[in-house]
């Protein structure tokens, strides 16, 4: 595949992520923050997000598995996850967190468990998607090309 093709593929893939709701406008903001001085900014931030989220999910699982669920703690974790996912534009994860918080307020353990599953699922999905995207970017750069800075949606 030549660079041009790879770039087009990157554009299409990115667009699809937006269209399917995995990512939202905030991700664009991140991309805009990236420049020659910080060529890896997005990758760095997203990696940080992955690390942090995995820790949060572990804590969440632990907290919910308890006999007497401490909903306040659970809520705090979810709130944090919501904050970080919204900061990078992981829309679906964020939406799950919102629902999750509502159930925490209601102190509905079952619903919370279900939400936790959902959040984990969405997180895995978006992680895969983003990793694919980054791999594509690496390929483009390795081939001497540059990552497109504009996503023209004209097709």
């Amino acid at each position: 595949m030549d660079v041009g093709q790879m770039q087009r593929q990157w554009i299409d893939y990115t667009k699809s992520l937006f269209l399917e709701g995995f990512l939202d406008g905030q991700f664009l903001q991140l991309q805009q923050l990236q420049d020659e001085n910080n060529p890896d900014f997005v990758v760095e931030v997203v990696s940080l997000f992955f690390e942090d989220s995995e820790r949060l999910l572990k804590d969440l699982t632990f907290a919910i598995d308890q006999n007497g669920v401490d909903f306040k703690k659970v809520d705090a974790h979810v709130h944090q996850l919501k904050g970080s996912s919204s900061s990078i534009g992981a829309q679906r994860v964020k939406n799950c967190c919102i629902a999750f918080r509502n159930f925490c307020e209601e102190q509905n353990t079952d619903a919370c468990l279900r939400c936790l599953q959902q959040v984990k699922q969405e997180y895995c999905l978006v992680k895969n998607k983003l990793e694919t995207l980054f791999r594509l970017e690496q390929q483009i750069v390795a081939a001497g090309g540059s990552i497109p800075t504009e996503l023209s949606f004209s097709g």
Binding site: L33, N37, N38, K82, S84, S86
Partner: protein
């Protein structure tokens, strides 16, 4: 060869641009955003005050605190892109120690609300008490109650995550605003120098016309100039007050003094004497006292004050906006605004002679027992609490948030006599202005309405004082108000308490102040409650009878109009309308400087009044934009609107107020040129120091503002 030439041209163009726009493009290019921050930091921007940085707000020193590493990293990058100097930390304790070690090392703090080691609000309080820096709260939580908490705890802004870079670009306004208010406080302590204001206004006019980027520079220059002049004039020489850092020891001394005197009896003067710290001024103590009182209130939980306050305001601090009665809505806003007002405004109010640390007193309490309002000792009006205080302080709280519709001229007179009356007026207004409520409610849309509140409170003060013959306008206060209003511009139309057309209140001031420039109908300074209006500041002047503002009764008229036409639009009390408490000596007597902000507000009210579907928000926006130092046009519009309004009012107002609409047409025709107003307003917006003086009287340039 050609390439070289091109490069040269480019370089020249950059240089030009940087000069023209106050941006260091070269450094920008160099750093390419990332590294440029360090190169740009030069003039410490705000801090120095003497060096006008071309690069302002570049170099603003921001401390960002968030336990979420992802957010922290993103914020840091965004802030660097805005050319700010960023320090990040992920723990509140670290942040506090950083701040304590570097007392003057930061200009603004951005903090997350939910943090594991310390609640963000607690951090906010500490910073407020110890370092008095502007603090912006941030959270993924956008619930009203949380945002409200931010307001009551004194945050100067609240950002919802995910934070966009656009939101961060403007945070410098908070630094400027705070400095301006501090400056104002300093001035308040001294005598009002009306005379100087006007000349300054003209200077400012020139500046205001410059580009935004350059405006800061200009305003800084002006402010510096003003400061110098003011210092010459000012006996107290507190004009250029360096920020007092309340160290732990100092704070302990303060607390000891307060305990000794008794929290209720503690007045800044006595505290100052007890503390016996050289170099500490009464204003410093006053503002700190306000904050402290608010802090205590919060600590004590729901006290009767709270209850009262709740009643008055929203029925509860946490009450949702929606549930607040119209009045409370206004109060809330006022409070919110008030809350936003730094202690300085409060101090200013105090300085104004209120002798109270009520900062936001201006909040009109909903029909509730007005007296009750006064009885509250809420030094910190974060949320309207302060307002209560003001009210209770029974100091001339001329700040009438709303135009009491029921006010009878007699009442007005009473007001003049005491704050209580004013409060009652407010109350009345509030009560009678149910419309006002809707306004209030409407106004605040999302942001912390603090501004709105203050605005409400501010202008409301009826002119009465003037009619009463008391010139009270304390410039400082009005400035505060005005300024606030400007700031509150967040798209909210000025929240005017709808003043019923027949409110006698309005008429009151009218007669008196025919002279009063509309803008400041109430010397903000005079009314402690008016704090909300403060930003604009100059409104106060007008109110006093002594003030010969051509606009005279703009505020009143406007209220009438407002009430008349569109009550719901006017949540924001016309900052300009702040009515100075009769008590206050009207420093501005001579000067009717309607601060631009006032005008703007007036503009709002006027627009509303005229019944056109002027969008209050439009005005608010214009005000707001003015605040941003940009729109002269808005101001003009506002002013223009004001005119019609005034004109109308004059007709309506039975009282004499100023002669007629015709004369009113120029809101402040004689006294201040539009330019002055504009410049004053713009200055305010830009947080210029000099604007301070302007505010008080600049309001008159309203008519100049083209609609």
């Amino acid at each position: 060869m050609l390439l070289l030439l091109l490069l040269l041209l480019l370089l020249l163009w950059w240089c030009y641009c940087s000069v023209r726009f106050g941006l260091d493009l070269r450094s920008m290019n160099l750093g390419n955003g990332k590294g440029s921050m360090s190169t740009v930091t030069t003039t410490g921007v705000m801090k120095s005050g003497d060096v006008v940085s071309n690069q302002f707000p570049a170099g603003l020193r921001v401390l960002v605190v968030d336990d979420d590493p992802t957010c922290l990293m993103i914020l840091e990058k965004m802030l660097r892109t805005c050319l700010y100097e960023v320090t990040k930390c992920n723990r509140a304790e670290t942040a506090l120690s950083l701040l304590r070690e570097n007392k003057n090392g930061f200009d603004i703090v951005i903090s997350d609300v939910h943090m594991p080691d310390m609640d963000g609000f607690k951090l906010l309080e500490h910073i407020g008490l110890e370092m008095d820096l502007p603090v912006i709260m941030m959270s993924a939580d956008d619930g009203k109650s949380v945002v409200m908490k931010g307001v009551t705890h004194g945050a100067c802004d609240y950002l919802i995550k995910p934070v966009r870079i656009e939101a961060l670009k403007n945070i410098w306004q908070h630094v400027v605003r705070k400095k301006k208010n501090e400056w104002k406080d300093a001035e308040q302590s001294g005598s009002a120098e009306e005379g100087d204001r006007q000349p300054k206004a003209s200077d400012e006019a020139d500046y205001s016309s410059s580009a935004n980027e350059g405006s800061w520079r200009n305003s800084k220059k002006r402010r510096d100039e003003e400061e110098e002049e003011a210092e010459d004039r000012d006996d107290t020489s507190t004009l250029k007050k360096p920020r007092v850092v309340w160290s732990v020891e100092l704070h302990q001394q303060f607390v000891a003094a307060v305990d000794q005197l008794g929290i209720d009896k503690a007045v800044p003067k006595k505290i100052l004497e007890l503390m016996n710290v050289p170099g500490l001024t009464r204003e410093n103590v006053a503002s700190h006292l306000q904050k402290y009182r608010l802090y205590l209130r919060r600590l004590s939980g729901v006290s009767q004050h709270q209850n009262n306050m709740n009643n008055s305001f929203l029925g509860s601090q946490e009450a949702t906006f929606g549930t607040i009665s119209s009045i409370s809505g206004i109060d809330l806003q006022t409070l919110a605004v008030a809350g936003q007002l730094p202690a300085q405004s409060l101090a200013t109010l105090q300085a104004a002679g209120l002798g109270r640390s009520t900062a936001k007193a201006g909040v009109p309490m909903p029909i509730m027992d007005q007296r009750n309002l006064f009885s509250f000792e809420n030094p910190r009006v974060r949320f309207g609490e302060g307002q209560q205080q003001h009210l209770s302080s029974s100091k001339p709280m001329n700040l009438l948030l709303g135009i009491p519709t029921n006010m009878e001229p007699k009442q007005l007179a009473n007001l003049h006599q005491s704050t209580q009356s004013i409060a009652s007026l407010n109350m009345r207004v509030n009560a009678s202005a149910p419309q006002g409520n809707p306004l209030l409610m409407q106004m605040p849309q999302s942001q912390p309405r603090g501004q709105m509140l203050s605005e409400n409170t501010g202008p409301r003060v009826p002119r009465l004082p003037s009619s009463l013959g008391q010139p009270n306008v304390s410039n400082g206060i009005s400035n505060g108000f005005l300024g606030r209003n400007g700031i509150a511009g967040n798209n909210r139309g000025p929240a005017y308490n709808p003043v019923p057309p027949n409110s006698s209140l309005l008429s009151f001031p009218m007669n008196q102040s025919s002279e009063m420039s509309v803008n400041n109908s109430l010397p903000l300074g005079s009314t402690p409650g008016m704090s909300s209006i403060t930003t604009k500041g100059s409104f106060q002047e007008e109110v006093t009878s002594g003030i010969k503002t051509s606009g005279g009764f703009p505020s009143y008229d406007i209220f009438n109009e407002l009430h008349h036409h569109k009550s719901h639009d006017w949540e924001i009390t016309n900052p300009g309308l702040t009515y100075s408490a009769p008590h206050h000596a009207n420093p501005l007597q001579g000067n009717i400087d309607v601060s631009p902000s006032v005008l703007v507000h007036q503009g709002f009210s006027s627009t509303q009044q005229t019944g056109q579907s002027r969008d209050a928000t439009l005005i608010g926006k214009s005000m707001f934009s003015v605040g941003q130092g940009s729109e002269q046009d808005n101001l003009q519009n506002a002013v223009q609107h004001l005119h019609p309004l005034l004109v109308d009012n004059s007709v309506r107002v039975k009282s004499e107020r100023i002669p007629d609409a015709s004369s009113q047409t120029n809101l402040f025709p004689d006294h201040y040129g539009q330019e002055d107003l504009m410049s004053a307003l713009l200055k305010q917006q830009e947080g210029m120091g000099p604007a301070e003086s302007e505010f008080e009287f600049d309001a008159y340039s309203l008519d100049n503002i083209p609609v």
